[in-house]
Symmetry: C3
Subunit: 132 residues, 3 copies
Amino acid sequence: MYEVIKLKTDYMTVTDVTDKVKAIVKKSGVKNGICVIFNAHTTAAVGIATKEEAAQRDFQADLDRIFPLRANYNHVETPFDAAGHVKCVVVGVDVTPIIKDGELDLGDDQAILFYEFDGPRPRELHVKCYGK
Amino acid sequence: MYEVIKLKTDYMTVTDVTDKVKAIVKKSGVKNGICVIFNAHTTAAVGIATKEEAAQRDFQADLDRIFPLRANYNHVETPFDAAGHVKCVVVGVDVTPIIKDGELDLGDDQAILFYEFDGPRPRELHVKCYGK
Amino acid sequence: MYEVIKLKTDYMTVTDVTDKVKAIVKKSGVKNGICVIFNAHTTAAVGIATKEEAAQRDFQADLDRIFPLRANYNHVETPFDAAGHVKCVVVGVDVTPIIKDGELDLGDDQAILFYEFDGPRPRELHVKCYGK
């Protein structure tokens, strides 16, 4: 079972894709296994963190403070593209939640989040459910 | 095979759960496969790093230096709760070591670590062994 | 299917191992599944990020700026060894790309990268292909 989630992001935003992933898990029919969610881009990332939007904005602001846009990157494109490559490695491009009794085994406050470090752009998340 | 590790943490600590995960792998009977260890919380994280406790304290201190507790987060709770949400994304909530010949395939110096960025609190790690 | 990639790194370098992993996926015969790539070291890391070398150097430089070598770590070895332990947690030790139709399901600009935070040293990446 392999599905692609298509997104259209705005500049430096966080998108909650939890419901989209849950629908794929349900459709897969997998009762017990794992679910790999993979971001195929280099200036975006995927993570699992709080569903609270205020804290999501805090995270983007903190990352901007730590990796400020600057003109002296080796990477020659826009400064926010160069900074986005760095942020991508820090956050990561894949998460692997467990599937238990047909449901994603997340904590009550957790959401699956797509982090856009550039944008606006069309983006894709690849989802693979594995199990029985 | 799905098991829950229950922890009772202190404020801003690192807990080595390697032996607990090894016991679950043994109990699972999986000889070759993978082991997903998933943290279901938003102000805690899981990682694989050095078993040396001095270096673990260095890591918590460095994270505190980079993401200092501050009053101007958007997230409205305690400053260390808000900072914890940020740290959670940087460290991550899941690791997937390989199971080989019935054993966790870790390096000699590696340990599976639970990072508490708040606390003291009761916490849970979810463990799924997959394979044959 | 389990294989070990052996590397000989230089100090603070990034090594693109994408072609080596692709060869293992092909050899495994797995058509649809997942591929776990696991770094068994505590002063190195593995990630998936841009294949552009200039941006890879930016990343190492930014990590050095954030986690500068310093003499007051608790960990008593060289300062770059102590800083390497910290960087290892931030980047992570495992990635899990999807295998689709017998190929690694990476984005066009993505590469699988080994990050050396110490070195020069002999290093190992463990690769497990899982699926059918």
